[in-house]
Symmetry: C2
DNA sequence: CCCGGCCTCCCCATTTCGGGGGATTCCAAC
DNA sequence: GTTGGAATCCCCCGAAATGGGGAGGCCGGG
C-alpha cells in the first residue's frame, strides 16, 4: 500500500450497469487501485482478462451468456494464478462452494460495506483468501453432508417443475423405482421432510435453479 | 428539462451501498437532477422523505427493518402525491403488483441501462407511469387469475416448509379437510400440477417468500 | 484385483395427495 | 336484505408418495 507500489489493476464483471458504476467510482477513490476494464458477461470477461491480465477480477455469478463459475474456470485454465473475487447477492452455500472450487479467492455479498470490499481487494491481492462470514458459517454447516449426485439433481429439477415420479422416469428413460430411490436419497441428504421441502431447501442452498 | 427549471430532487433508498454509489454518481452526472438524501431501509426512508420531500424516490423492495412496499404505503399515507420508482432485482409479478397497488409510479429492474433509468425519472417526474416491459408482460399474463387469499398463502407457506396437510391443520388450528380445500384452490389458482409445483410457482411469482 | 460410490431395478406396507362432490357460517359490500 | 366471497368442515376413492428392505452392474482409485 506504499505510494511507491504500482496500483492494483482491477477488472469488473457484472451485468448490472448501476453496480459497475458504483464499483468503478469506489475504485476511483482508492489511490492504490485502478480499473482496467469492465465486462457484463462471462465471455466478455474472458476476452477482457486476456487483453489486460488484471491483478484482481471482481466477478458476479448470475449473468447471461456465460455464468461466473464457468468464467472463473475458463480464466484459471489459461491463467492459474488469476486472483478472482466473487461479488454476488446471496444464493446459497452451494453456489459459493462451486465458486471456490472453481478457483475464487474471495466470496463477498453485494450488501457489504465499501470499506470491507476495498480491504478484501488488498487482502486477496496480497495472496490471502476472504470469504464473507455468514457464507463461511453456512458452508461449514454442510461440509459433513453428502452432496447430491448428478442424477439426484436431475430428478429433483424435474420434480420442482411438477413432474410425478412416473413422469420423471419417462423423461429420464429410467424406471419409476429408480426415481423413487433417487428421491429417497435426496430427502435423506437434504434433511427434508418431503419432496416439496426438498425442492425449497435445494433452491435456498443454490443446489438447483429454476 | 430546460436549464431554467429547478433540478429534480431525488431520494435513494437501498440497502446496498454499492448500488447507492452507482445511482449517486449517475445522478451527479445529470444536470437536471440532484440527490437530496439516501436511506438504507424503510424507516430511514420515511424520515428522509419527511425531512426533504423529494420529487422522486428511488426505492428497493427487499430491505431489512422495513420493506419497500410498506415504506411506499407509509410515505403515501402522509404524502399522497409522492412519486416513487421501485428499483429492484426481479422477484415475480406479484411483488410488482403489490408495489404498484401501494402507489409506486414506476417499477424498474436493477439490470436496466443508465439511460433508461434517467429517462424514467424524468418521465415519472412529469407525471407519467413507467413499468419495465418484461414485468408488465408477466403481470398481464396473470391479471385474469384469481389471487390467493390470505389463508391460502398461510397454508402454502407451511407446505413449503415441509408440513403435511395434517401438520398444517394442527399448526393453524383448523381441520385437515379445510387445509385440503385450501390446497385444492391453490393448485387451481396457480395452475400447478401438485403441491411442489405450486410452491415453486409461488416463489417465482413473488407470492410467498422463504 | 478389490472396494466404494453411483446408478439401476425390485418388493412390501402405510400414509398422504388430489380430484370429485356438497354444506354451513360469517362478514362485508351493494 | 340479499348476494358473494372467504373460511370452515365433511364424504369418497383412486393415485401418488414415503419408508423399509434387498440386489446387480459398472467404473475408477487404491
Amino acid at each position: 500500500m506504499s505510494a511507491t507500489n504500482p496500483p492494483i489493476r482491477i477488472l469488473i464483471v457484472d451485468d448490472h450497469p448501476l453496480l459497475r458504476e458504483g464499483l468503478s467510482s469506489l475504485i476511483a477513490g482508492q489511490p492504490d487501485m485502478t480499473l482496467v476494464a469492465e465486462a457484463e458477461n462471462g465471455e466478455q470477461a474472458l476476452r477482457a482478462f486476456r487483453d489486460h491480465q488484471p491483478d484482481i477480477t471482481l466477478m458476479d455469478v448470475q449473468m447471461p451468456t456465460m455464468n461466473g463459475i464457468d468464467a472463473i474456470t475458463a480464466i484459471r485454465t489459461g491463467f492459474p494464478t488469476a486472483r478472482i473475487i466473487v461479488l454476488t447477492t446471496y444464493k446459497g452455500d452451494m453456489q459459493a462452494l462451486r465458486a471456490i472450487k472453481a478457483g475464487a479467492s474471495g466470496y463477498l455479498l453485494k450488501s457489504m460495506l465499501r470499506k470491507e470490499l476495498v480491504e478484501t481487494i488488498r487482502s486477496v491481492h496480497a495472496g490471502r483468501r476472504r470469504i464473507a462470514a455468514d457464507i463461511a458459517t453456512e458452508m461449514a454447516e454442510h461440509v459433513a453432508d453428502d452432496e447430491l449426485t448428478a442424477r439426484e439433481c436431475d430428478v429433483l429439477r424435474l420434480v420442482a417443475l411438477g413432474s410425478a415420479n412416473k413422469e420423471v422416469a419417462a423423461r429420464m428413460g429410467i424406471s419409476e423405482e429408480t426415481v423413487k430411490t433417487h428421491m429417497k436419497n435426496v430427502l435423506t441428504k437434504l434433511g427434508a421432510r418431503d419432496r416439496t421441502h426438498a425442492v425449497v431447501v435445494a433452491l435456498k442452498r443454490g443446489i438447483i435453479d429454476i
